[in-house]
């Protein structure tokens, strides 16, 4: 830094800010059945309103169909149905979160249908609590951890494992309240 006229204070705050960015991850949270869930914001490609999907013949119930995302065909999955939380009418606030999912062979783009989008927050990795051991490895591996944001419990999902599993597990049994 050759600029001697810049106040030393501003340098420190900027450094601090950078450090904060590095140490924490940002999450997008959304609501399904009054419960708040979060996904790593880096996986989120975009958020769009619910629009009719083309159903896929003989697909599992949670796969609502495929939509046209600017020329690419992507599947949309109802997380509510996935988690065994019943079905609801899609409304004006029903949204599709378009996620980039990685697995060993390829990157896929998938839309998840949620009741509503809630918030974006930063979370220090130290504040991430491990998910309770429910004795079922599959279900828990979809959960990255739990976090307490403003006195509310947020379930952070590990989308790479969640959406790559052949059958998406029933999370309704997971009592996290």
């Amino acid at each position: 830094m050759s600029q001697s006229n810049s106040p030393p204070l501003s340098d420190t705050t900027e450094d601090q800010h950078v450090r904060e960015q590095n140490a924490s991850d940002q999450y997008l949270t959304f609501i399904i059945a009054q419960e708040e869930y979060g996904v790593d914001i880096l996986c989120v490609q975009e958020i769009r309103g619910w629009d009719n999907a083309t159903p896929i013949p003989n697909a599992p119930k949670h796969v609502k169909g495929v939509i046209n995302l600017r020329g690419t065909i992507i599947p949309v999955i109802d997380l509510r149905t996935c988690f065994g939380l019943g079905e609801v009418e899609y409304t004006a606030v029903t949204v599709v979160i378009v996620l980039k999912v990685k697995n060993a062979e390829k990157d896929r783009t998938i839309g998840i249908i949620v009741d509503a989008v809630s918030d974006v927050f930063s979370l220090d990795s130290a504040d991430l609590k491990p998910a309770p051991d429910m004795g079922d490895a599959d279900e828990v591996s979809c959960i990255k951890g739990l976090a307490n944001i403003n006195d509310k419990m947020v379930i952070l999902l590990e989308i790479n494992t969640l959406l790559n599993q052949g059958s998406i597990p029933d999370l309704s049994s997971l009592d996290i309240k």
Binding site: T54, I56, P57, N58, V66, I67, G71, I73, I74, R108
Partner: protein, 687 residues
Amino acid sequence: MSIDLSQFHQVFFEESLEGLDLMESALMELDVSHADIDIINTIFRSAHSIKGGSATFDFKVISDFTHVLETLLDQIRDGQRKITKDHVDLFLQSVDCLKHLLSLAQDNSLEVTEDASALQKQFEAILEGDSPSVEATSHIVDGSNIESNDSSECWDITFHPSRDMLQTGNDGIRLLSSLKALSDSDIYEITCDVSEVPSFEFLDPEACYFSWKIRCSGDIAYDEIKSVFEWVEDDSDIIISKASPEEPHSMAQPEVAKSDAPAEAVSTPTKKLKGAKPSSENTFIRVGIDKVDELINMVGELVITQSMLSQLSDLVDSAQVPRFGEGISQLEQNTRELQESVMRIRMLPISFSFNRFPRLVRDLSAKLNKNIELNINGESTELDKTVMEKIGDPLVHLVRNAIDHGIEMPEERVKAGKPPMGVITLDAFHQGGHVFIQITDDGKGLNKDILLSKAIDKGLITESQALTMSDEHIYDLIFQPGFSTAKAVTDVSGRGVGMDVVKQNIHALSGSVDIKSKLGYGSTITIRLPLTLAILDGQLIRVGDNIYIFPLVSIVESMECDADNVSLLAGGKRVFKLRDEYVPILSLGEVFNIQSDNTSIDGALMVVVEYSGHKVGVIVDELLAQQQVVIKSLEKNYQQVMGVSGATILGDGMVALILDVQSIVSLFSKQKNIEGISLLSSANKAS
């Protein structure tokens, strides 16, 4: 600087494979008795480039192998050795061997193969056997008489360049400064001798009249100094000698490194340095296929947007926006042209696929002791790269068949009044939006009686059916599974994968194949292929709220389903009596588990579709428009779906699924828990 050389590997593999193809066709073209120097140069260059590349990118096995190949080729090229037929055979084997080595390298598992070491030994034997006189023309100045020791050295250098040094782009100043860069101590003295500079009127401004004496010291090795003058040592007087720092300069230094071969004396070799045939006058750029596909994708989007706008243009009041319609139709035309141009990027001349056949025919006919000439026409006919890749194996199979079963032995031909040399012709041409490939032989042709009796033996047809079959149907029998005309399974063809697989592969490309034959005169097999796989002519249909697309090529006809012609089979299956055959019926609504308008089969709309020679009636609610659709992958972001081959985007932006008839039938059979194909074929035979 560290550069990851692996980023260039793919390009190296590609160009090497291209080089090998070029080498192979040049070898095929080569007439050993009158070897054309241009052809030999082409062959040499391919080997040379692969050697250079593999050495640079550290594929030692490949560079070692190509080294012997190149050495032999170099001797042939220089006229030191005459090329023989054995050489050509060895070179051809090397092409195959190198292709294999390259594929190993591509998989990161490069190692010396048995073939490679055997071939390498054969080349080495040739090279050692009667090694032609190769004169070592090395001008390397031996510096071994100069001892070097680790401590700081002091050197006296005299550098007397040739007059025309500047005209070779060498510059005394640059040489001296790189010499100075070697020296790490303060001692760097230089004196310039200008005594040779003539008076002004005789001065040639482009000549170098100077010479220099330099004393430098530091941790400098003799070789380092020598390498500074590497490029000029042949035509300069350079004396490098060790000096003691105390000793004053003196010009009188002994012999050490004087080479007095003037440049003119060296330029004696009179080799023909003409380039090979200037065939590749066009310039090419190498672009990743993913970029092209992305472009095609985007143009596909544009086509959809354009058709959406065209639909909306009906709503625009032409009185208020007078030129709107004009603009829309202009847009439509431009979009179509753009799409065609973009599609053409993926198109390659079919010669890429045809060029393997001269070799194949040569090898096979030699093996079978047959005399066969291959004619190739329409090599420049273009088709989609993917189609070309997928048609390669079926074509090989068909050509092998023509050689093995079609063309007779020479004596047999003579007996039949034909010339002993058989002719196989490969043709390619465009017609009506399709590419046609024809394989014609002037061999014995198909014998209908043998085909029929064999089909009856195998239980493919009944004797009564045989009586009424058209020629077309009889020839088509050879494409039936389990049918092979070869009396014995030979090494050449008929190795399990039969003509049925050929037909299936061609069908998978939305193509078709048919045979014409005349007993005693030969056969012609015609393959019809779409120009591209990215676009499909589709028939839109509706079932309930859903729109699906049938590939137009799979549709035979559509009709109202009359209950009188429907009979019920065991397992809840129904068949429809379509003229003289029974066609199984399935309802798309039932198979896909979706709500359909139809409640009764009577009077329902039935589309008769065909797959692998079988027909099936599919009940739908409505036939909609026919249109070209851009095929999109479902698997990219989702997974394979039974009954569906892909998807497309309609003018309104909605996704519609493209139906795959074969997979719908197997889905139906699975649901009915019955083996589909067997039931269908027995149903087809019922008449």
